[in-house]
C-alpha cells in the first residue's frame, strides 16, 4: 500500500489502514532478520542521518541497524562534542549535514517540536525519534507491533485495552501510544498520581485513573513507565516508597488485568521501582521482544518513507 506521508513526526494524518500496512511491512522485515544474511538492498543509494541532540544510544543503534540492514548509508550525528557545543544553531547544523545529500533524518531532541522545525528547513524526510515530552512514534509502533504479534490469530485492535502506568506528564511514549492505539480502535487507560497525570489529556477512547484497579481491569497490554528519580526533588512525588506502594506493577496486581495480558516497558527499567523484577522476568513480560521488534519496525518506517511512497 502507498503511503502519502513525507515524514513520521507523530501520527497526525495517518489512517488506521496506513498504520496496519506499516505492520505488514514490519512482518516482512522481521523475516529478513531471521535469515542467515540479514541484509537486503532495498535502501541502497539512500543516505540516512541520525541527528541526536539528546543522547539515547539504544534508540540510535536501533535506527542505524534498521538503515544498514537495508543497505542505506548512515551518517551519525550526536550533540556531545559537536559544533552544537560551540553554539551552532539547529538550523546551521541541519544545513551542514544537508549539504551531504541526506535523504532522511532520524531526530531526537529534548524540546518538543524540533522535528517539525527541521521539517520546515529541509527537503529530506524526517522521522521523530523522540522530542521532549511530545512524541516517540516508532516506540509506540513497536509497542503496538509487539502486542499484535503476541497473540496467535490476533483479531485486530478494536475492543482491546492498553493500560499505561506511571509518569504520564513527562512521557512522550505515553502520548504517542495514546495517539496510535486510539487511532487503531483500541481504548487506553492512563494511570498515575495527580501530579503526573494531566487531566487535560482527556479525549474519546481514553480513561484517566489514579488507582491501578480500574486501570488494569480488562487490559490486554500493560505498560509501566520509567520513573525519573528527580521527580521527588521537584515536589511531584513525596517518596519512592509511596510510589511503589501505589503504582508498582507486580505479579500480584497483574491478577487485576486480562488473564492473557502482556507486560511492556519502553526502557530503560528501574527494576523494583515502577515494575517488580520478578514481573519483568516473568512469562508475561515481552520487554525483550519490544527491543527486538524495534529494528524491523524502524526498517518498515524507513522503507515506507523512502521507497513506499513512490
Amino acid at each position: 500500500m502507498m503511503v502519502k506521508h513525507r515524514h513520521l513526526l507523530d501520527f497526525t494524518g495517518w489512517t488506521a489502514d496506513e498504520l496496519l500496512a506499516l505492520f505488514d511491512t514490519t512482518d516482512v522485515m522481521a523475516q529478513v532478520l531471521q535469515r542467515t544474511i540479514k541484509k537486503v538492498p532495498a535502501l541502497q543509494g539512500f543516505t540516512v542521518s541520525t541527528l541526536f541532540f539528546e543522547s539515547s544510544t539504544r534508540t540510535r543503534l536501533s535506527f542505524e541497524r534498521a538503515a544498514r540492514a537495508q543497505s542505506a548509508d548512515v551518517i551519525s550525528f550526536a550533540a556531545g562534542g559537536s559544533s552544537l557545543a560551540k553554539g551552532e544553531s539547529l538550523k546551521d547544523t541541519l544545513r551542514t549535514i544537508d549539504a551531504m545529500q541526506v535523504d532522511l533524518y532520524v531526530v531526537r531532541h529534548a524540546a518538543a517540536g524540533v522535528p517539525y522545525q527541521l521539517a520546515r528547513w529541509t527537503d529530506a524526510a524526517i522521522v521523530n525519534a523522540g522530542d521532549g515530552r511530545r512524541a516517540h512514534p516508532t516506540q509506540a509502533l513497536l509497542d503496538a507491533y509487539t502486542f499484535r504479534t503476541s497473540f496467535p490469530g490476533f483479531d485486530g485492535f478494536a475492543g482491546k485495552k492498553l493500560a499505561i502506568i506511571g509518569d504520564i506528564l513527562h512521557s512522550r511514549v505515553a502520548r504517542s501510544n495514546l495517539e496510535l492505539w486510539t487511532r487503531l480502535g483500541a481504548t487506553v487507560a492512563l494511570c498515575g498520581p495527580a501530579t503526573l497525570l494531566p487531566r487535560e489529556l482527556e479525549q474519546p477512547r481514553l480513561s484517566l485513573h489514579h488507582r491501578l484497579e480500574p486501570t488494569l481491569e480488562g487490559a490486554q497490554a500493560v505498560m509501566a513507565l520509567r520513573l525519573q528519580q528527580e521527580r521527588m526533588t521537584s515536589g511531584l512525588l513525596p517518596s519512592l516508597a509511596e510510589y511503589r506502594a501505589r503504582y508498582q506493577l507486580t505479579e500480584a496486581v497483574m491478577a487485576l488485568a486480562h488473564p492473557n495480558a502482556i507486560v511492556m516497558h519502553p526502557g530503560p527499567m528501574n527494576r523494583d521501582v515502577e515494575i517488580s523484577s520478578s514481573l519483568a522476568d516473568s512469562p508475561r513480560s515481552v520487554i525483550e521482544r519490544q527491543v527486538a521488534n524495534g529494528v524491523p519496525v524502524r526498517m518498515a518506517v524507513l522503507y515506507t518513507l523512502l521507497v513506499g511512497k513512490k
Binding site: S89, A111, A112, G113, R133, R134, L201
Partner: protein, 418 residues
C-alpha cells in the same frame, strides 16, 4: 518658523473635512488660511493624535542586533506612535541616570518618535536593591520597571511602591510568580499537554497580580500591571479597582488576537511571556476593553533575531515585535468586527496611556504638541514583515489582511520616518 498644513483631514467628531495647521512644534488650529511652508494632503484620511506606547523594548544599548533606537523609533513612527516608553532590560540595564541621559540625547538627535525611558526598579534587574529613583526621575525616566523579569521579592516591591509613591512615579509590573511559572514556555492547558510543552499556568499571573494590587492599595503607589493575559488576572484587577486601588491594566495586541493553539505550529515566534492563552481569555480581554476595565493597550514590542527564534521552543527567547501592526490589527479585529468603536480603540492608544502616566490627554486643540498620525481606514493590505522598519522582519500576523494602516506620522510638527 515653520508652518505646515494638513489638508482634507478627517477629524473625529467633525462632519466635514478640515485643514489642520501646525506651527513649529504645536497645533495652530483648523481652517486658518495664510502662508504655509509645507503641505500634506490627508485626502480624507483620519488625522488623530499620535499614539503612545508605554511598553517598548528598543534593545539599545547592548542588543542592537535585535533592535536599536533608530530602527525601533522608526518602527514606532511607522505604526502611528509619537511617544514610546522604552524598557530597561538592556545591556547594560538602565539603572543609572547617565544611561537615561544618553538615551534621551540620542533619541533627540534621531528626530523620530519621542522617547520617554523607563528605568529599572532594581539594580541590574537583580531584584535585590532599589535603583536611585529620584536621580533617575531627574534624568528623565518616567517609569520604574524590571519588565521582562518579575519582582519575586514582595518586600522589595513594597518598598519600591512606597518610595515611588512619594515621587509620583509609575511602577510597571511584570506580574508572573516565578515559582508557579517554572520552566513553562506556553499556556498550561489542553494544548500544552497535547503538544508536550512545559506549561505556565494562569495562576502564576493571577497570584502575582493579586500581590501587586494589594501593594498598590497598601502604599498608594500607581501600579501599572503590564500585559495582562488572562481572565483571572483581569478579574482581580477589576475587583481591586472597585476598592480604590490605584492600579491600571495593560493588554497587548498579541494577547487580544492570538491563542495557545498557535504553538501547534512549533514556531517560537509565538513564544511570549506571559504566554498566549485560550480563546476564552482572548474573548474576556476583548470584553474588558469594551467595559473599560483595561486602561491602555501597550505593545510589549519585543524584537529578537530570526536566528534566536529558530532555536527550539525551550531555548528560544520570549517576545513578539508588533509596533507596526498594532493599530491596523486591532482596528480590523476589534472595530471592524464590532467589539469596540473607533473612538474607544483610539482611547487605548492615546488618552488611556496618557492617563496612566498622568500626562495631558493627547489632542489636536490649538497649542497642543503637533504629534499626530494619519490613518487610512479604508484600504486593506496584508502584513508584510519584510517591509518593517523594525529589525525583526517576521511576524505572527504575516499575511493577515488588515485595514487601518498609519500612512504618515508627525512629531513636533514634522513628518517622521518614511
Amino acid at each position: 518658523m515653520s508652518r505646515t498644513i494638513i489638508t482634507n483631514a478627517r477629524l473625529i467628531g467633525e462632519q466635514s473635512l478640515a485643514d489642520l495647521y501646525l506651527k513649529d512644534s504645536l497645533i495652530e488650529g483648523v481652517n486658518l488660511g495664510g502662508e504655509v511652508s509645507h503641505t500634506f494632503d490627508a485626502a480624507g484620511k483620519l488625522v488623530t493624535p499620535a499614539f503612545i506606547d508605554l511598553h517598548t523594548h528598543l534593545r539599545e544599548p547592548g542588543q542592537e542586533v535585535k533592535e536599536d533606537l533608530a530602527s525601533g523609533l522608526a518602527a514606532a513612527a511607522a505604526g502611528g506612535y509619537g511617544t514610546v516608553v522604552s524598557m530597561a532590560n538592556t545591556d547594560p540595564v538602565i539603572d543609572d541616570p547617565g544611561l537615561v541621559t544618553d538615551l534621551l540625547a540620542k533619541a533627540e538627535r534621531l528626530g523620530l518618535a519621542r522617547l520617554r525611558p523607563a528605568a529599572a526598579l532594581s539594580r541590574g534587574l537583580k531584584g535585590a536593591q532599589l535603583t536611585d529613583f529620584a536621580a533617575l526621575q531627574a534624568a528623565g525616566a518616567v517609569m520604574l520597571t524590571d519588565d521582562g523579569i518579575p519582582v519575586a521579592d514582595g518586600h522589595l516591591l513594597r518598598r519600591a511602591c512606597e518610595y515611588a509613591a512619594e515621587l509620583g512615579l509609575v511602577i510597571q509590573t511584570h506580574s508572573e510568580e516565578p515559582s508557579l511559572r517554572q520552566d513553562g514556555v506556553m499556556n498550561e492547558g489542553t494544548v500544552s499537554q497535547r503538544l508536550g510543552l512545559p506549561g505556565n499556568p494562569v495562576q502564576a499571573e493571577a497570584v502575582m497580580v493579586y500581590r501587586d494590587c494589594e501593594l498598590a492599595l497598601m502604599t498608594g503607589a500607581r501600579v501599572h500591571i503590564a500585559h495582562v493575559s488572562s481572565r483571572r488576572g483581569l478579574q482581580l484587577i477589576e475587583w481591586f479597582k472597585a476598592q480604590g486601588a490605584p492600579v491600571t491594566a495593560e493588554v497587548t495586541p498579541h494577547h487580544l488576537t492570538l491563542t495557545d493553539e498557535t504553538l501547534g505550529a512549533f514556531d517560537p515566534i509565538y513564544k511570549v511571556a506571559p504566554p498566549l492563552r485560550t480563546a476564552e481569555d482572548v474573548a474576556y480581554l476583548r470584553g474588558a476593553l469594551a467595559r473599560a476595565v483595561v486602561d491602555s493597550i501597550g505593545t510589549d514590542h519585543a524584537p529578537h533575531t530570526r536566528a534566536e527564534k529558530d532555536l527550539d521552543l525551550l531555548q528560544a527567547p520570549s517576545g513578539i515585535a508588533n509596533l507596526e501592526v498594532a493599530f491596523p490589527l486591532l482596528y480590523t479585529k476589534l472595530v471592524l468586527d464590532g467589539v469596540l468603536t473607533l473612538t474607544d480603540l483610539l482611547h487605548y492608544f492615546q488618552s488611556g496611556p496618557a492617563k496612566v502616566m498622568g500626562w495631558p490627554a493627547p489632542s489636536l486643540a490649538p497649542g497642543a504638541p503637533a504629534d499626530l498620525t494619519v490613518i487610512d481606514l479604508e484600504s486593506a493590505r496584508p502584513v508584510t514583515p519584510s517591509a518593517f522598519q523594525s529589525k525583526a522582519k517576521f511576524s505572527p500576523w504575516d499575511g493577515w489582511q488588515l485595514q487601518g494602516w498609519p500612512v504618515a506620522t508627525f512629531v513636533r510638527g514634522r513628518r517622521v520616518g518614511s
